[in-house]
């Protein structure tokens, strides 16, 4: 593969740079141009490009499978039948091979180390000790939170009753994951619902936070990669997908501090081993179908 490849991603700057560098090293003839932004902004930009009929990227590497399912529904994605998916569980790639998970970013609980209780279960957040002390990202603004909401409500043990119980306990829903980390590390609230790598990484640097994988299991966004139907350089795009799914690519994800999606790759420091992490079952297409309804119901419960 060779030529120019345009990538839109929501990976943090540093990670995106590392990924691109590693890929270019393996494929010296490909020149990757990448744009990095929050998922919402990347999508807004992409939607505007769609609306103007001139989408720029060949390749997307963005937060969650629901977004990808939406793009697939709108017939924006190209199927990559020959992708090598060895080592990937079934749920981790689209059955039509239009998008593929590249890592697991799980959503669990974070607590400030000065908090009275160390929660172990999702249900701990509805207890008296956590009253008014829980904050979580809003599914209205964060893709990961929407996936998490779908996973919770698809889970028969938790469901909407749990969400309502959270609201009754004074939990707040705000912005994205960065804000949750700040709120909990800064001590405005004691507990937060958050993606794993932020608190784990900050805790390692000394931030007063601790991440917990709850007993019921975690939800996960998988930062899928997909090739656009309109890709100008599909060959290079496929090479990029191959690289991400390869063992080498998965190891890179691990060194960046993320749980690799591929089995048999060592998780990063600070994470329990892969088989100890329980994932809640999740149906992306269902989640997409429910998305608007879920958001509406959520905002009714939490106001706004």
């Amino acid at each position: 593969a060779s030529g120019k490849l345009v990538l839109y991603t929501s990976q943090p700057n540093e990670d995106a740079q590392a990924t691109v560098d590693a890929f270019e090293k393996a494929n010296p003839d490909v020149d990757v141009e990448w744009v990095r932004d929050g998922t919402t902004k990347v999508m807004a930009k992409l939607q505007a490009e769609f609306a103007a009929g001139n989408p720029q990227p060949d390749l997307l590497l963005i937060a969650d499978s629901v977004t990808m399912a939406g793009l697939k529904r709108d017939d924006r994605l190209m199927a990559y039948e020959d992708a090598d998916t060895t080592g990937f569980e079934d749920g981790l790639y689209d059955k039509d091979k239009t998008y593929f998970s590249t890592k697991l970013i799980t959503t669990g609980i974070v607590n400030n180390t000065r908090a009275e209780m160390t929660p172990t279960s999702w249900k701990d957040l509805t207890k008296e000790e956590a009253k008014g002390q829980v904050t979580m990202p809003s599914p209205l603004t964060s893709g990961a939170a929407l996936v998490h909401l779908a996973a919770i409500t698809q889970n028969p043990d938790l469901g909407w009753t749990y969400v309502e119980a959270l609201a009754e306990n004074g939990a707040t829903a705000a912005g994205g994951n960065g804000g949750i980390l700040k709120a909990v590390a800064g001590g405005q609230t004691a507990y937060g619902v958050i993606v794993d790598y932020l608190p784990i990484r900050e805790a390692a640097k000394g931030s007063p936070v601790k991440f917990v994988f709850p007993t019921e299991g975690v939800s996960a966004v998988t930062e899928p990669v997909a090739i656009l139907k309109t890709a100008k350089n599909p060959e290079a795009a496929k090479a990029f997908v191959d690289f991400l799914l390869s063992e080498e690519g998965q190891k890179l994800a691990s060194t960046q501090g993320y749980l690799p999606a591929r089995e048999g790759v060592e998780p990063p420091a600070g994470f329990p081993s892969r088989d100890q992490i329980k994932l809640m079952p999740f149906d992306a297409d269902q989640a997409l179908a429910d998305a608007e309804e879920n958001k509406k119901r959520f905002s009714e419960i939490f106001g706004g």
Partner: protein, 563 residues
């Protein structure tokens, strides 16, 4: 009147084309998208969005927060301007300097630091050992909190506008009232403030429109409280899935634009019928002696500065000095590593400084040059065309930046028709968007100033046979320099760390400072983001300081912080 191709005619043509290009085009493109998503006429989105309860609730919230926020800006900005321009308080330059700096601190930072101040703990309070236990819900997460912060954030807009206006007030106007036996407050109420109406209205219109379009503050304080305003609603829409997003957003944007025009309509209502032309020359600044009250006023003024500048700045500084967010600041944890990282290791930061400086300086200078003739034409020539152009120039500023970004993408993603070159993915598309967004910021203060100007001064120059451009250069610019500079300062400061527009429009190598800060923050590197923000503030202080050194070469009153 026969069309003439003299200097004024050419200037008029240039300005009309400019405004059509930077203001009308993006707005028109959005309207088009609202009525014809993807190019096909279809009103279903329009009616769906307009019939949703959430749309109107958010509109109402936007109106309420913008209105009361503007009221706070108006009071705060006016009081500061009066204190600086009309009294004998000391250290005015420093005060002005400090009052303008909050424009440079991202509103989210201010919001967060205040939330921390009111909340249970912060690096600062933990360090001081004063941190309260993890506690009750934060009072700032409410409509009142949003209003308060919007008010503070936009007070400098009113301040600069009013201060420029006060410079043109002939002192006899006040003296005549004092001779009538009127006390200070009465003079203020009946003479100074009414005569400042154009400046006050210009400043509040800016504050109002800024508040309507502000995203950062309601996002941080409103979303947790379930209080949605139009920009946050738009953002939420953008986060949903599906092909109608752009159209939905366009519809909401039209609402935002309509609200902004409301502010403009109110402005014409206030200024339209009355007369504010002062005949004759403005005299040197007045100095009301405050006597014993001076110290109290000074303490009050600096107290406010501590609240709006020092507290957030310290929070920012503290955060930038620790290795990870939430780590208490102490001798042991203090590190300059974050600065080393952003300044020396990440070349994106330095590049972003360069880009942002170029964009901010370019946009503010170009807009300043255009604002003076444009304002003079609007006020003196009038006419419906110019009035509506002026109104339309307001809209891109009120739109949430992300929407303006979308509009720019819609327009520029394809190569320009005639030239065949594409602005997309270059720094020029950001420049274009800045011109669109900040035109009104540059224009409003100047319009206010022209309304107060004695037209005879221009007429006297015409008599000498001076052509339009010569008059512009030698008479209008110097006379309007304080207001034009106020506008340029506003533009420069707001665009220097602008985020929301450039967030959609940047491309590799063309990052802006706002983008860098946001990307760091969003990636969880809050401490690095804080370091960049601190460096930004330091850079601005340095730039302001350098300009102050040059102040002697500029017409008097141009630099608000060099008296």
């Amino acid at each position: 009147m026969k069309p003439r191709l003299d200097g004024e005619g050419i200037a008029l043509a240039v300005l009309v084309v400019f405004v059509l290009l930077v203001s009308v085009l993006p707005v028109a493109r959005l309207v088009f998208e609202a009525f014809a998503p993807g190019g096909e006429f279809d009103l279903s989105n329009l009616s769906a969005v307009l019939s949703a309860g959430s749309t109107w609730r958010a509109t109402w919230h936007s109106l309420v927060t913008a209105f009361f926020g503007t009221a706070i800006s108006l009071i705060l900005g006016t009081v500061f301007a009066l204190a600086v321009a009309l009294t004998d308080i000391r250290a005015k330059a420093a005060l002005v300097f400090a009052f303008l700096l909050p424009l440079m601190i991202p509103p989210q930072v201010t919001a967060l630091s205040w939330a921390q101040l009111a909340g249970p703990s912060s690096p600062l309070l933990i360090t001081l050992g004063l941190a309260p236990p993890l506690g009750a819900p934060n009072p700032l997460y409410s409509a009142e909190g949003i209003i308060l912060l919007l008010g503070i954030q936009h007070a400098p807009l009113v301040f600069l506008s009013v201060r420029a206006g006060l410079r043109g007030l002939p002192r006899e106007m006040i003296e005549a009232a004092r001779a009538c036996g009127a006390g200070r407050i009465f003079v203020l109420r009946t003479i100074v403030l009414p005569m400042m109406t154009p400046a006050l209205v210009a400043g509040s219109a800016l504050a109002f429109v800024s508040a309507i379009g502000n995203f950062g503050i309601p996002a941080l304080l409103g979303i947790p409280a379930g209080y949605t305003v139009l920009p946050t609603l738009i953002y939420q829409r953008l986060a949903s899935f599906g092909p109608s997003i752009i159209s939905d957003v366009a519809v909401l944007s039209i609402l935002v634009g309509a609200l902004a025009c409301l502010g403009f309509a109110a402005q014409s209502l206030f200024v339209g019928r009355r007369d504010f032309r002062t005949v004759g020359a403005p005299s040197e600044a007045l100095r009301y002696r405050l006597g014993t009250a001076r110290l109290a006023v000074e303490i009050g003024a600096w107290g406010i500065i501590v609240l709006i500048l020092v507290v957030p700045l310290i929070a920012l500084l503290a955060t930038s000095l620790v290795s990870a967010y939430g780590v208490p600041l102490s001798e042991k944890t203090m590190t300059l590593g974050n600065y080393a990282e952003v300044l020396f290791r990440q070349d994106a930061t330095v590049r972003a400084f360069r880009n942002s400086f170029f964009l901010a300086a370019g946009a503010s200078l170009l807009l300043m040059l255009l604002a003076v003739p444009f304002a003079a034409l609007i006020v003196w020539r009038g006419g419906r065309l110019l009035k509506s152009l002026a109104m339309l120039a307001e809209v891109p500023y009120a739109l949430p930046g992300i929407v303006l970004g979308i509009a720019a993408i819609l327009i520029f993603i394809r190569p320009l028709p005639i030239f065949g070159l594409s602005l997309y993915n270059t720094i020029w598309i950001i420049f274009f968007a800045y011109l669109a967004r900040f035109l009104t910021l540059s224009l409003r203060p100047v319009v206010g100033a022209v309304q107060q100007l004695d037209r005879g001064l221009d007429e006297a120059a015409r008599m000498t046979g001076a052509g339009y451009l010569f008059r512009l250069r030698t008479v209008l610019f110097p006379l309007l320099a304080p207001a034009a500079a106020a506008g340029a300062v506003l533009t420069f400061m707001t665009s220097f760390n602008e985020l929301t527009v450039s967030a959609l429009l940047w491309s590799a190598g063309n990052e802006t400072l706002g983008v860098v800060v946001f990307n760091l923050d969003d990636g969880g590197y809050t401490v690095l983001a804080s370091a960049v923000a601190v460096v930004t503030v330091v850079a601005i202080v340095a730039i302001m300081g350098v300009t102050a050194l040059l102040a002697r070469r500029l017409p008097r009153g141009v630099l608000p912080w060099a008296d």
